[in-house]
Every structure is written in structure tokens, then in C-alpha cells.
């Protein structure tokens, strides 16, 4: 069995994939699956769709590895694939409608704190889904993928200045929505 070091960097793993070692892709998927899945989930708010989108982004990235430019970070590149696919998905599918009762927020395991956490999660989810898609994507990439302005600029193919102004406007809108729901 092949041992893959945690420290092995993305560029080395990509190079090995290009040399025909498909197993070298496993640590890349393991490294980024959580964040890609969460980004997709926060964009589409459906676990199955999020899984399919994340899975599709990885497979597409693998097929196009030859076009990856190592001058950029691997994750910025794969986020770009995911974001494009997610936007196409959102164009094809119905707009989001909040589900009541809430099926998607983790079930409570304790009394009051859990109830509050559930309410907060539901409020965040609904507030995010109420944002226009271009505002939602910057908030999701900033807060759920923790990308810098520069990395978001690469992932979304827009200037850094636009990233900042979109993010600012989106946060203002979120503040209004969350205040209106009394969620903060």
C-alpha cells in the first residue's frame, strides 16, 4: 500500500496524478472535501445536491488536471470549478424555499443550548439563501472556505475590489435579515 504523507503538497500530488497515479488524488480529495461540501451546501442548501456538486467538481478537476496552472493554489482552482458548477445548478433549479419543520439542521442532543444553536443555524441558512447568488458566494467563500480576498478573486474570476464591495454589501444585507428575524 502506498503511504501518502500529510505534508505532501498539492502540486506534488497533482504531478503524480498526471503521471498516472490516480491514488495520489485521494489525499487531495480528503484535504478539501469538507470545505467544498460545506461551500456547496451553503450555496444550494441540500445535502445530496451538495454531495453531487462536490463530487462532480473533484472528478472534473481530475479530468482537467493538465490545464491546472501550478502558479495558482490548487484549492482556488477547484473552488472555481465548484462555484461555476454550482451557479449552473442554481440556474437550472427552482429557487430555495425554507422547509418547516426543519429537516436539515442537526437534531438536538441537549436542552436549551442545542435549541438555540438550531435556531441560529436555521436563521443563518435562511438569511444566506435570501441573498442574491453573487452576494451569497462571496459570503460562503469567506466564512465557510475562509478564503482571502485574493483567493476569492481567483476563484470567482472577478477583481479583488469587486470581491470587497460585494462582501461588504452582502454582510450589510445579512445584518438586516438577521436583525429582522431577531437572530442575533
Amino acid at each position: 500500500m502506498l503511504y501518502l504523507s500529510q505534508d505532501e503538497n498539492d502540486a506534488d500530488l497533482v504531478r503524480r496524478c498526471l503521471q498516472g497515479d490516480a491514488e495520489a488524488f485521494r489525499p487531495l480529495v480528503a484535504r478539501y472535501q469538507r470545505v467544498l461540501y460545506n461551500v456547496a451546501y451553503r450555496m444550494v442548501h441540500d445535502r445530496e445536491d451538495a454531495r453531487d456538486l462536490a463530487q462532480g467538481a473533484f472528478v472534473k478537476a481530475y479530468e482537467k488536471l493538465g490545464t491546472y496552472d501550478p502558479a495558482y493554489q490548487f484549492f482556488s482552482w477547484i473552488y472555481r470549478i465548484l462555484v461555476n458548477d454550482t451557479l449552473n445548478f442554481l440556474k437550472r433549479n427552482r429557487p430555495y424555499q425554507s422547509l418547516e419543520p426543519n429537516w436539515d439542521v442537526a437534531a438536538p442532543s441537549g436542552p436549551r443550548d442545542d435549541l438555540e444553536a438550531r435556531e441560529r443555524n436555521r436563521a443563518v441558512r435562511d438569511a444566506l439563501m435570501a441573498l442574491p447568488v453573487d452576494s451569497r458566494e462571496v459570503v460562503v467563500l469567506r466564512h465557510f472556505a475562509e478564503l482571502s480576498y485574493g483567493e476569492m478573486s481567483v476563484a470567482l474570476a472577478i477583481p479583488e475590489k469587486t470581491v470587497k464591495s460585494r462582501l461588504y454589501t452582502a454582510r450589510q444585507r445579512l445584518a438586516e435579515i438577521l436583525d429582522a428575524r431577531g437572530a442575533r
Binding site: R34, Q55, F58, G66, A175
Partner: protein, 257 residues
């Protein structure tokens, strides 16, 4: 370098990217401007709320599904060069010489071949000119299985392949009567995601856990059904047409029997 505006200072502070001098400037500003202070606090609370929102763990089948799909394909080794690079590469001596040789061989062979093309069948001409590809070579690299269907009154073809991390079944049927089509998913680890058909809608379509059912009306139609990849599969995708014998279609990861 221009000094950032108020909004940029506030956002930079929230995101932790302000230089020490900008943070100090913002503190002074917030102390003297209650409106800005209110805005800063409001946006900081949004950031905090988002930070406290739950992060989901990806389902275990995500990694397995990706690895299963990538084993069936090979990444392109390098990016396609732009037209300028391609032209430059062509004009180097070796490709130029190769082009000249090919042209010469073509001229010589053209002279040697009989001028009456009627002597050869179309297939033979294609083979001579090197344009005949076997069906196997024409198959997409992602194809997992391809089966011809020839039952009483029913003909067609079923193809399983991988596309965008999903398993896709392309089914073409031509029948002289209505046929019930049943896809048995039990033990395959697959769950149905989408269904489409060409032409006018046929009979009812049922997509449920463990199976997909629909009716093929008399005539010819193409169907496209996609599936998510779930738990590791134990067996092939089973296609049954009417009451006929089932056809097992490989999904590329069945356990050997």
C-alpha cells in the same frame, strides 16, 4: 498608496487584514463617530454569527465516489497549447520534415492506387486511408458497459458510463409494443438522480429507493437516467424489460462473484 475608506477599514478589521496603523486609525474614528461604530458592531456580529454556524461533515461516500470515478479516467497530460505556440512548434525542423515526408508518401501512394474507386468498398477505402476506427476505439473512455438488446419485439442498446461523478445509463429501445422497464438498484449503492427521454413523454416514471420504473411505449426512444454513487456496490445494475430475463450492466465496481 491611497488610504482605505471607512467601509474598507471596517471590513478589513472584521477580516483581520488591517495593518496596525489602520486598526489604530479605525479605533480613533469609531470613538468619534457613533454611526460608524454602530455599523462596525453590526457587521462584526454578522461575522461572528456566521463563524458559529454549523459545519457539516461530508458523507463518507463522497471520497469513495470520487476515487471510483477517477480510476476510470486519465487526466490530460498537459494543457492544449494556444494557436501561436502550436504554429511555432509546427515550424520547427522536425515537424516540417515529417509533414514533407507525409506529403511525399501520399503523392506516391495516390499514384499507385487504382483510379477507379469502385474497385473498393467504402469500408475498404476507409481502411486504406486509415480512417476506419473500430467500435471499441470509438467508445468513450468513461464507458463501463455496452450491451445490445435483442428480445422478442424489442431491440436496442444499454450503455453505462461515468459523467461528472454520476453513473449514467443511456438506453435506446425500439419495440413493437408497450414494454415495462425496471431498473433494480438493490445492492448497487446507486440512488436515482435524474431521468430524461427524447420525444413525447411516455408512460409513468417511478424513481424510488432501490428502483426506477417506467413504461416504454411502442416505437423508438432514447432514455437517460443518472444515479448518485452511494455505498460501495455489491452487484451490477439489473435491467429488466417486461417479463424477460434480466440484463446485468456493469457499474465498474461490483464485487467479484
Amino acid at each position: 498608496m491611497s488610504r482605505p475608506g471607512h467601509d474598507e477599514l471596517i471590513q478589513g478589521e472584521i477580516d483581520g487584514v488591517n495593518a496596525a496603523s489602520d486598526s489604530a486609525r479605525l479605533r480613533v474614528l469609531l470613538a468619534s463617530r457613533p454611526d460608524l461604530d454602530g455599523r462596525f458592531r453590526s457587521l462584526a456580529r454578522v461575522s461572528e454569527t456566521l463563524g458559529g454556524a454549523e459545519r457539516l461533515e461530508p458523507p463518507p461516500e463522497l471520497l469513495d465516489g470520487v476515487m471510483w470515478a477517477v480510476r476510470g479516467c486519465r487526466p490530460k497530460a498537459q494543457a492544449r497549447p494556444g494557436w501561436q505556440e502550436a504554429l511555432r512548434a509546427l515550424l520547427t525542423p522536425a515537424p516540417l520534415a515529417a509533414c514533407a515526408c507525409t506529403l511525399l508518401i501520399g503523392v506516391v501512394l495516390g499514384g499507385l492506387l487504382p483510379s477507379d474507386t469502385g474497385l473498393f468498398s467504402r469500408k475498404e477505402r476507409a481502411a486504406l486511408s486509415g480512417t476506419a476506427l473500430s467500435p471499441g476505439r470509438l467508445d468513450a473512455a468513461s464507458t463501463l458497459d455496452r450491451r445490445s438488446i435483442a428480445l422478442e419485439g424489442i431491440t436496442g442498446e444499454a450503455v453505462t458510463r461515468i459523467e461528472g461523478g454520476l453513473l449514467v445509463l443511456d438506453l435506446e429501445l425500439e419495440a413493437t409494443r408497450r414494454v415495462d422497464v425496471n431498473l433494480d438498484l438493490d445492492g448497487t449503492g446507486l440512488s436515482p438522480r435524474s431521468f430524461s427521454q427524447d420525444g413525447p413523454p411516455g408512460g409513468d416514471v417511478v424513481m424510488a429507493v432501490g428502483q426506477v420504473r417506467f413504461s416504454h411505449l411502442a416505437g423508438r426512444r432514447r432514455y437517460n437516467v443518472s444515479f448518485s454513487l452511494g455505498d460501495p456496490a455489491g452487484r451490477a445494475l439489473r435491467l429488466r424489460l417486461g417479463v424477460g430475463e434480466a440484463l446485468d450492466l456493469s457499474i465498474g465496481r461490483e464485487r467479484p462473484r
